[in-house]
Each structure stands twice: as structure tokens, then as C-alpha cells.
């Protein structure tokens, strides 16, 4: 029972004895701590994925380079994509959902706090499991979308693809649990008076993203099960000699994969929709349309998957359908961009670092959107697909869209996490370095692609005459690295020395700014009652009084539990033991998981 668990009468934890920090984090069910764990883990993997990206670009800095072997290169580009999508993009959004959403809706925690911890630990163990493949030199090497039948036993006999399929299965399960959790939280735990159409845009996007997660990830789970069955138990879903069809994989993958793109970008839209109004000192222009267009994008996002497959040979009718549906999705996206500009219009714009990143995102994301419409022009997509033009496009969407927004959110909400502001001056240095380095890396790739260089090639011929552009692209990476180094330095410096922020340093409009920075474990002393969309602008006295005034006599919080980490370990162990190829080995992990689940069920929550 969702709401019961969160609100069950439990012991009031005002611990006086000092807790062991590690044990505390291992057993915590506090959404804020789990959010920080997610965030730090995602940033760690951002560094891992960034190192992989750097190796890729070094290899491509000159034609016929032998810096990396073909095999190493193929493993690294596969893990770069897999890492950035599943270990950075998704968890970093989940980190923000965890920390921010309950605060924005005036809740004490998420609906299923222990499930939340379970999601995190499965994610962490799954990520470590997948990356452990590097230790035996057999990291996944089938590309991040692992097209069958290259991934079949016959053409990929090593353990590479096993690590990929099993690891992603675990990560997917964690994401689905998270999705269920946030849907329940947002629908059931809102403060009194916070109707759906009074929710902050970020929470709205979290809700839509969660719906996409619980609907799209299962499709991927099915696809992964099929390939796992093929590889371990000799089924023939993708084995052509036995009548299987590798194109089936493409449909299943992209039926998940395209909604996945919106899973990654909708949170970014949410972040920018929070930041632009605050730093323009104006409410979001066209709130309702922003909500509807987000919902429309999520919905139409389900009907465009085959635009990744124009070269597959689906026939002109399917090509025409997916061309038009894809072009249509540009309309609600364009509306969002114009509404953000209209929000700034007539405002009083403060050029803080988060606002710079938001404005930068507006521009770079539009570049990615525009090249997206070019892809939708399917006759010419046959020239673009699988070239560096596509690589340029999705990096403009995912870095120019998502990562810019994530960096904006870091500066924006850092005071809430820590009670301290990050250095704005170094923030701007970091923004300009990253902005310039990013464009230097990926702008030339548009030309590299249209002038004839396919993606996923470990080497290219000097005859292509693309050496100069590739070198420019590689040089840009080092400017980006400098930018990110400044960012990390800023974070570390600001943790200790940042100026104290107070509860609401930016004049934010939403409820997370009512409570202290960082918030107490129970978030709000009393649950605020909301009458407007911008409680901290229009009814701040009441909101602040509820958040920081006299506390409720009985505040109920779930106690910490070690069963989530115990169960998560068993679940991932099950997948790991599949690699032994002993039929009974995974049963050990399964038994472990069951043991955890039973103890979980009988754990007293009060």
C-alpha cells in the first residue's frame, strides 16, 4: 500500500547518536539521500563515459590511427553510448526526481521509500556488473542498440553481449520500479490544494517521463529476454537460418528507444521551465500549453520509432507514415521553445550561471531539433543515417539539450542540497568553455557525416579528406574537458566555501524553496496548503511558515532498512551467475532475492 507505507506511524527519528555515514547511506530510504546517491553515481559514470568519448576522439584524430585496436574501439564506443544513456542520462534525471519532486509537491518522501532504495542499489550493482566486463577485456561491443543478428551467439561468441543484455535487464528493472514510484508519488502525495494544473512544470515532466518509463522499458525488457534466450537456451528469435528475423529486434528496440529519447529530454524541458521564469521574474508563459505539449510529445513519441529504420527497407507506406509523424512532433517542441522565449520577453533577466545554461540549451537544443527535422526527411535520411551527421544530431539533443539543462540544474539546486551557492564567476567560465568546446566538437560532425564518414568506424581513409574536420572535433573535446574540470572544481570548492544561500537564494516560486537549505529529514515542519501555481511568489508567508514554523506534533517517517540493498544484491547476482552457464547457478541469486523479499515483507515499519 503505497501511501500507507510512507505515512505509516513510525518512530520519530531525531537521532542523537552519531550514525556511521556508510551504513546510513546503505540503509537509507530518505529520498534526498537516495537522490544524492543517484546524482553522484551518475556524475561518476559521466566521467567514465567522458573518458571513453575522449579515447574515441583520439583514435579518430588522424586517419589509419592505431591508438586503439578495432576490438577495443568497438567495445569503447558501445560502452560510451550505453553508459551515457543508461548510467548517466536516466539516473541523473532520476536523481533530480528523487530530490526535488517530493519537495516541489510538499511531500515527506516518495510513496515507496524502500522500493526507491531498491531501485538505486539494483542500478548501482547493474552498472558495476556491466562495467566489470572491461576487467576481462570483453566489454559489450555490439553498439548501444545491439542490432541482431550481430549479437547472436554465432557472430558474437564472447561474453561481451551477455554482459550487455544481462546488465541492461537489471538497469531496466530498476528504472521501471522508479517509474512506478514516481507516478504514485506525484498522483497521491501532493500537498493539499496542489491540483495537477498547479504542479510545477518540472514535476509535470517527471510524471510524463515516469509514464514513458513504465511503458517503454518493458518493451526493451522483452527484447533483451529474447536475445538472452537466443544466446543461452538456443531459441531462434533472431536466427535467420531458422526463420528468425533480425528486423524484429530493430522494431522492439526502437519502440523502446524512441520513447527513451523523450525519457531523457522531458526532464530537461522541466528544468528549463523552472529556471527561465525564476531568472526572468515572470511566470512561465502558457503553462497549460507547456503541459499539453509535453504530454503530446510523450504520446506522439510512441508513434515515431521506425524513423530510426528508414534504411531498413520497410516500404514506402511505412516510410511516409513515420516521416509525417516525426515531423509532427516538431510542432509541440517548437511551441515549447517559443513559450520559453515569450517567458523571457518583458522580464527582468538575471544572467546567473543556471540562466546562461538555460539560454544556451534553448539555442543548442534548437540546432539538434532542426537537424532532427532533416532526418525526418526520410529520402535524404538514407544519406544521413549511420553517419556522423546523426552523431552530431543526437549529441546536440542530448548534450545541448539534456546535459546543458543538467548543469543548469546543478547550479540552480545546489544551494538546496548543501545550503551553499556555487561560485557564479567560475560557473560562467565553465559555461563558456563547455559551450565552445561542445560546439567545436559536434558542429563539424554535421559536415563529417554529409561528406561521407559513417559512424562506428575505428579507422577512416585519408582519401576522404576529412582529417582536418576530425581534428577540430577532437580538439573540442579537450576544451570540454577543461570546462567540466572547472565545474567539478567549483562543486568541491563550493561544498566547503560557497556563500551561505539561505532557503531561497534565487527568489524561486515553488515549494522546495520554502523549506531550509538543506531541508530537514522530514522536509516540511507542516505540510503546506497550496492555492496557486507559484506559492513562493503569491503566498510565501504561509508556505514558509508551514515549512519552517512550528512542527507538527507527530511526523511520520519510514525507518531505514537494509533489505533493499540485500535484495538488490541478490537480484543482480542472479544475472551475474547466468554467465557461469550452469543451469543451477542463477538459482543461488534467486534464492538470495527471495530471502530478501520475504524479510522485506515482514519487516516492521513502525
Amino acid at each position: 500500500m503505497a501511501t500507507l507505507e510512507a505515512r505509516a506511524p513510525v518512530t520519530q527519528p531525531h537521532p542523537t547518536k552519531k550514525k556511521n555515514v556508510v551504513w546510513d547511506l546503505m540503509t537509507t530510504v530518505d529520498h534526498k539521500k537516495i537522490g544524492l546517491l543517484y546524482g553522484v553515481t551518475a556524475l561518476f559514470f559521466m566521467v567514465v563515459g567522458g573518458i571513453e568519448a575522449t579515447l574515441i576522439r583520439i583514435q579518430l584524430a588522424k586517419p589509419e590511427n592505431d591508438f586503439l585496436s578495432a576490438d577495443a574501439y568497438n567495445q569503447i564506443f558501445t560502452m560510451h553510448g550505453t553508459t551515457m544513456v543508461f548510467l548517466v542520462g536516466m539516473p541523473i534525471a532520476v536523481a533530480l526526481f528523487n530530490y526535488i519532486v517530493p519537495l516541489q509537491i510538499g511531500a515527506r518522501d516518495v510513496a515507496f521509500p524502500r522500493l526507491n532504495a531498491l531501485s538505486y542499489w539494483i542500478f548501482l550493482f547493474g552498472a558495476l556488473f556491466m562495467n566489470s566486463s572491461f576487467l576481462i577485456g570483453q566489454a559489450p561491443n555490439g553498439g548501444w542498440f545491439g542490432y541482431a543478428n550481430l549479437t547472436s551467439e554465432q557472430y558474437s561468441p564472447g561474453m561481451n553481449i551477455d554482459f550487455w543484455a544481462l546488465g541492461l535487464q537489471a538497469l531496466g528493472a530498476a528504472s521501471i520500479m522508479g517509474g512506478v514510484n514516481f507516478i504514485t508519488t506525484i498522483l497521491n502525495l501532493r500537498a493539499p490544494g496542489m491540483k495537477l494544473m498547479r504542479m510545477p512544470l518540472f514535476t509535470w515532466m517527471a510524471l510524463l517521463t515516469s509514464f514513458l518509463i513504465v511503458t517503454a522499458l518493458p518493451v526493451f525488457a522483452v527484447a533483451l529476454f529474447l536475445i538472452t534466450f537466443d544466446r543461452f537456451w538456443g531459441t531462434t528469435f533472431f536466427v535467420t537460418q531458422a526463420g528468425g528475423d533480425p528486423v524484429l529486434w530493430q522494431h522492439l528496440f526502437w519502440m523502446f528507444g524512441h520513447p527513451e529519447v523523450y525519457i531523457l529530454i522531458l526532464p530537461a524541458f522541466g528544468i528549463v521551465s523552472e529556471i527561465i521564469p525564476v531568472f526572468s521574474r515572470k511566470p512561465l508563459f502558457g503553462y497549460a500549453v507547456m503541459v499539453y505539449s509535453g504530454a503530446l510529445i510523450a504520446l506522439i513519441g510512441w508513434g515515431v520509432w521506425a524513423h530510426h529504420m528508414f534504411a531498413t527497407g520497410m516500404g514506402p507506406i511505412a516510410d511516409a507514415f513515420f516521416t509525417v509523424s516525426t515531423m509532427i512532433i516538431a510542432i509541440p517542441t517548437g511551441v515549447k521553445i517559443f513559450n520559453w522565449i515569450a517567458t523571457m520577453w518583458g522580464g527582468k533577466i538575471r544572467f546567473t550561471t543556471p540562466m546562461l545554461y538555460a539560454i544556451g540549451m534553448l539555442i543548442t537544443f534548437t540546432i539538434g531539433g532542426v537537424s532532427g527535422v532533416m532526418h525526418a526527411t526520410s529520402p535524404h535520411d538514407l544519406q544521413q543515417t549511420d553517419t556522423y551527421f546523426v552523431v552530431a544530431h543526437f549529441h546536440y539533443v542530448l548534450i545541448g539539450g539534456l546535459i546543458f539543462a543538467i548543469f543548469a540544474s546543478l547550479f540552480y539546486w545546489f544551494p538546496k542540497y548543501t545550503g551553499r551557492l556555487m561560485s557564479d564567476r567560475w560557473g560562467k567560465v565553465n559555461f563558456w568553455l563547455f559551450f565552445i568546446g561542445f560546439n567545436m566538437t559536434f558542429m563539424p560532425q554535421h559536415w563529417i557525416g554529409l561528406l561521407g564518414m559513417p559512424r562506428r568506424v575505428f579507422t577512416y581513409s585519408a582519401e576522404l579528406n576529412l582529417t582536418g574536420l576530425n581534428q577540430l572535433s577532437t580538439a573540442g573535446v579537450f576544451v570540454q574537458i577543461l570546462g567540466v574540470a572547472v565545474l567539478f572544481g567549483n562543486v568541491l570548492w563550493s561544498l566547503k566555501r560557497g556563500a551561505p544561500s539561505g532557503p531561497n537564494p534565487w527568489g524561486g516560486a515553488t515549494l522546495e524553496w520554502a523549506t531550509t537549505s538543506p531541508p530537514p529529514e522530514h522536509n516540511f515542519n507542516r505540510i503546506p496548503v497550496v492555492h496557486t501555481r507559484e506559492p513562493m511568489w503569491l503566498e510565501s508567508a504561509a508556505a514558509e511558515d508551514a515549512a519552517r514554523g512550528t512542527p507538527e506534533p507527530h511526523i511520520h517517517l519510514p525507518p531505514s532498512s537494509y533489505w533493499p540493498i540485500f535484495t538488490a544484491f541478490g537480484a543482480v547476482l542472479t544475472f551475474v551467475l547466468f554467465l557461469t552457464n550452469l543451469w543451477w547457478a542463477p538459482l543461488i541469486g534467486l534464492t538470495w532475492t527471495t530471502l530478501g523479499a520475504i524479510n522485506w515483507a515482514y519487516e516492521p515499519t513502525h
Binding site: 550481430l150 535467420t240 521574474r281 534504411a311 511516409a320 523571457m344 527582468k348 535524404h380 579528406n465
Partner: protein, 442 residues
Amino acid sequence: MALNEAAAVRPGGALARRAAGALSALVLAAAPVSGQEPAYPQTTFQPVSAYGASQNAVFMNTFWWTMGILVLVVLLTLYVAWRFRERPDSPEPAHVHGNVKLEIAWTLIPAVIVVLIAIPTVQTIFENQRRAPEGALQVEVIGHQWWWEFRYPEHGVVTANQMYIPVGRPIDLKMHSADVIHSFWIPRIGGKRDVNPQARAHEGESPSFNHIVFTADSAGYYPGQCAEYCGDSHAIMRMSVVAVAEPDFDAWVAAMQRGDAPAEAPVVAQPAAQLTVPTETGAAQAPPTQATPAQALAAGQEGVRGQEAQGPQPRPLPAPGQVRPPTGIGSAVQPGIPDSIYALQGRQVFGSSVCVACHAIQGTSAVGMVGPSLTRFGARPHVGAGAAENNLANLIRWIRDPQALKPGTLMPGAHKAGGGFPPTGLTDAEIHAIAMYLLSLR
């Protein structure tokens, strides 16, 4: 000029067209000049078929519309950010929550633009996927890890990695894969198509193939490569189309059909085993060389790579019977022995080696089907589907240790197994002779 044609699709007057043309050159760095070899051999901006040109045209239409929107958004964003920046005298902003008319406007205007983009796009989709017209030349394209097989059922010709086609005649590429998914992409011909493994057809169904239908407008050498990641050496799965005038194509077909059929060849001076006894050393350090193999066996066979074919000539055709020991291959070569002798010897070595288990040469007893056909191999620009330039040194390196030039290739080396096959065990003298023989097949 493709770009100007493309610009013509865009609504607007001549001035706009000219401006657009100039801008495209600037923005897209394509700098096309009619009749010249493009600076970028795999550019998509200078298609040589109506198929590619139609794709470029819809792209240009989309490009200019979306570029207009992009410029608008960027300028508007920068203007608004500057105009409404916080100043000491900035008034507190009014809390505007929206404006229905404006929002309808910026929903409808993009919608109209989408329609203007979608109409020509959908038309082109259907045009480009028509069945091949009567009389089209069918070429069967079979993708392999990591090379291309081209079959001409009309002529009974099989070749690899380099496809000859006649200019002006419609070509129908009928494509499937022998293993994993590949993608056939010759950018200057036009957009790529996946080359899918054939799913076993169920009862009552006929297997389906992907097709590319196009007609080459002008003769030339058009390189391309596999565009769908297909494993280790995906990057070295290159091929080219050589478009030639119809008579040259017919000559090429005739030469391919004859292949290396026995002709009045000089008698072999010595049996292969007795010729030269090389050591392992020397040849291993063979540097690239411009050595010119003799043409003894190919004497009288004119190369069909005529004036029209713009392909890179790997090396000039040597005079028949030219005596020139190749440099840099050490003890494998005895001074004073004509190239033709090596080639003849190589023919014998090849015919009695394990090579024939996988490779075929038209007109000989070699009929292997696993690897690429080597008929008229000497005329191909590359070794190993683009792994290296086709010259004596590279070919020797390739036969001795193909994995070193192309990671993962299924071809076994002299001392290393590959693709489930044992090492060939060829000696350096045999490898040299085989290389000389293959290069003589022009």
C-alpha cells in the same frame, strides 16, 4: 550542379535561388564545380544519379526552411535576452500568463512549414521506391563480413568490392547478406539501404530483398563503404562503383567472362617448388613499393578502365614482358627472372594451394565460394575491401598475415588461423608468386 538544382525546389525567385546557391556552397562547404573530381570523394552533395539528386533536393528544401526557423530562434533569443536584461531601472515584470493568439500563431506557422516540407518528402519517398524499369541491369549485392560480392546474373559474372556499371542504363541492386546486417552506401550514387540477411522464407512466401534502383548520369569512380555496424572490421568494408560507357562495360563483361582462361602462354620455365627458396626474413619487412608486375597472362587484354573511369589507377600498366625484380621483397626474388615467370609460377601455386577452397578465378579450376572472387584482381584498387592499396608489397603482407591489415578478417594467414580455417602454410616464395599472379590478372 546539384546544389542549384536543389535550391530550385525552394519557392522563390531567381535572386533567391542564386543567393541560396551561394549560401549552400558557403554553409555546406560542398563547393561543387561541374566536371571536376569532388574534394570529398564520399560527399552526399554531388550526386551522380537522379536517385541521389532527388534526395539532395528534398534535403535542401528542408534545410532552408529549418535554417530559417533556427536563425529566427537564435536571433530572437539573443535579442530578448539582451533587451530584457536586468538593469537598475528595470521595472518589476508584469505577471503575464500567456496569450492565446500568439500561441495559436506559433503552433500554426510551424504546422504550415511542416506541411511544406512533408509534401515533397512523401512524393520522393514513393518515387524512389518504384520497381526497376524493364531492361534494368540487375546486380545482386551480397554483404559478407567484411567484403562485398557483386553478381551479374545477366552475364554470369561474379566480382567483389568493385562494381562496374554502364552509364545511362538503369541499375537494380538486389541486396541481401550472407551473415549479419550491412548497409550499402555509395554517397554519390545516393542514399544507403540495409543489406539484410535473408530470413528463411515460410511456405508460400517468396524471400524479400532490399533494392536500390538508380541510373548513373556520368562515368566515374564512386567510393563508398558499409554503413551499418557489422563487427570488428566494419570500418574496412569498403567498395566502389565504377561507372563506364556502355561499350567499355561490355568489354569489361567479356574480360570478366574469359577471366584467366588458358591462352597461348609461355611454357613455365621451372616447376614451382624448385624455383626460389626464400627465407622467412626479408620479405617480412617489405615496404610499400610501386613494383609493376608483368602482364604476360593478360597480354592482349586491354584494361577497360577507360578515360571515362575516373578511378585511381593503382599503378601504370607496365609494358608486357618487362623485366623488373620488385624491390624490397628480399630473397623471394631472383634477379633476372621476368615478372611473367613469377606470375605463371604463381598461377600453378595458387591452383594447387588451399586458396582455391575459398576463392574463385574465372577460367581456372579455382571455384571457391567462401571468399571474394579474384577474377581480374589486379585491376582492383584495394586489397582486402579497402584494407590497403593494391600493390605488390601490400598484397604480400595481406596474404602472409591478413589479420594485421584487417582485424578479425576470416581469411587465414600463412602462419595464423582465421575464420575457423587453419593457416595456409604458404612459403614466402609461394606468397610472392601468388601475389605476382594476382596482380597480373588485369
